[in-house]
Symmetry: C2
Subunit: 331 residues, 2 copies
């Protein structure tokens, strides 16, 4: 299988991207890694060229570019060229740590959505206390969603959790302002009713945002605006608390400082829980092939995780199965 | 001034409610505390009856009651009687730690909304790292909001922050999926445009949920569905992380345990940041008089904080000022 990689996207490109490929290559011997970007810079960080194709490109889309304009104007950018490879069937999937907007736009325009999927969505696997994790979508590909969109998200998330994460009958829940069936916006209530009637989805009802990190569900569905807000609230709270712990220890008494030094190792375990290194990237689901966005500030380990995740997506043919599922619907 | 108090509402009523009154009485000598509930049980916990009126009631609304039904059926409940006191002008404000739904319903039906306010909202003062705090609304009184609702929330929050918290020209921000003006749902974009055109509001634009705890704004406005989800995501994340820290220390090596014991005091400071004890209650704003909901599991300190908060609300006449503001609008 072949994975097209935008080597120039992200805050630490191409270094972390290429080093991530070096790491992933050791485990994924059946993959050809196509690196799109500045060939000289790529070779600077590449261990060797076994199972690697370097495709020289002359342009880079950055975070300031307007996505739609950039996709059309920068045809020889590493991002557009990598996504185009999937469109042409020269690659099975694409990874970029560059502009989210540009990747979503290029994915939609070039890879194209599965015809019967109303709206593709951005999905990530987030950590839970029990280590099982959960998939949450939409994290912000949309700013407004209908009940039918939410139902499609439930199907996309459920297929992903089952095929890529190997979870049998994934428990799917809908974000609401209360766990009772009667709670929710009119849109959520309508989606709730539709999901209850779908035997192919293991729908467990509503979930409150306070229960997602403790493993209340395997797939958590929200409209893009709310899902984005929840993700950022979780990130912001975790970041503030970790800083507060550090400050409390650093500015504390000598006793506190000694205590802090003694528990340092345990706290780094905590940091791992909130780290994005192991989580892989955010998948843009609902398209005909895997399109994955890694964090802009991804480490080489995060890039390697994302590549392993894409490997599972291709291997399980989750996109092909979704195409079949939606084709079979009489919409 | 007189504050009507539902002495029977909440998980630890009437004990924590009455003990909270004992505490608040020491600081608020100009308040008459009207305690509605079981007179015998109330007297069991009351230090003395100086500045206290006990009004015996025979019924209690609990969390399982349907709000609308309960308000109508249990006319002699401590909650309905306390809210009715405000309606009749026998009290200036009301506090309850009982059912949120019942209090919101009773507030709407009896105290009534300010005529030109499209929708009342639930608002809390949440902690920030710098200790300044911010007011966030709507936290879930509504499940769906229009742009005009959001604009009204901005006015309500701004008046509150200025009058009750003493913040000059409070910085008001709108929750969105990006800080740029171009980001947001159609509703948020419309509200953004309206707010920019209002010189009486110090509107600083959009804010992402990840920046609220670091003091990015004094007033944070969201629709009730999103605001509720953000609040619960913050609570859930804080709770999970605090538990993880404890577990990491308890299950760690002897060294870690000793370290944990040494930093215990600093960590309790962290717990304070996330504690609701000092934060007061959630105000149901947009009504003609202050209606405040304390957490169901409020400690006596949380009840005392809520009473002090209500004292400031009455003293500053924030509700009266809001009535005037909205009357002056040519809606």
């Amino acid at each position: 299988m072949k994975i097209a990689i935008d080597a120039m996207g992200g805050d630490f490109a191409p270094e972390n991207i290429v080093k991530g490929v070096n790491l992933a290559k050791k485990e994924l011997s059946d993959v050809t890694f196509q690196l799109y970007g500045d060939a000289t810079k790529i070779r600077e960080f590449l261990d060797n060229e076994v199972n690697v194709e370097i495709i020289a490109t002359s342009e880079v889309i950055d975070f300031h570019d307007d996505p739609v304009t950039a996709i059309k104007a920068k045809k020889d950018s590493s991002l557009v060229r990598a996504v185009t490879a999937v469109k042409k069937g020269e690659a099975d999937a694409v990874l970029s740590a560059g502009s989210t907007g540009a990747l979503l736009t290029a994915g939609l325009l070039l890879v194209k959505r599965i015809k019967q999927v109303s709206r593709p969505a951005l999905m990530s696997t987030l950590p839970t206390v029990d280590g099982r994790g959960f998939d949450m979508l939409d994290l912000g590909a949309n700013t407004e969603n209908t009940a039918q969109h939410l139902v499609d998200f439930a199907v996309l998330g459920s297929y992903y959790a089952e095929n890529v994460r190997g979870i049998e009958k994934p428990r799917v829940a809908l974000i609401s302002n209360g766990s009772e069936e009667s709670k929710g916006s009119p849109t959520v209530k309508e989606a709730h009713e539709l999901l209850v009637a779908m035997p192919e989805i293991n729908f467990i009802g509503n979930i409150e945002a306070r229960d997602i990190l403790t493993g209340g569900a395997d797939v958590v569905v929200a409209d893009g605006f709310t899902g984005n807000a929840i993700l950022k609230a979780v990130e912001g709270t975790a970041s503030v608390l970790m800083k507060q712990i550090k400050t409390a220890i650093m500015e504390g008494s000598l006793t506190t400082k000694i205590g802090g030094a003694l528990i340092k190792k345990s706290l780094s375990g905590l940091k791992d829980l909130m780290s994005t290194d192991a989580a892989g990237g955010a998948a843009f689901v609902g398209l005909k092939a895997p399109v994955v966005k890694a964090h802009g500030n991804s480490s080489e380990f995060a890039i390697a995780s994302a590549l392993k995740q894409i490997h599972k997506m291709i291997e399980s043919d989750v996109s092909g199965k979704l195409v079949k599922h939606f084709e079979a619907l009489d919409k």
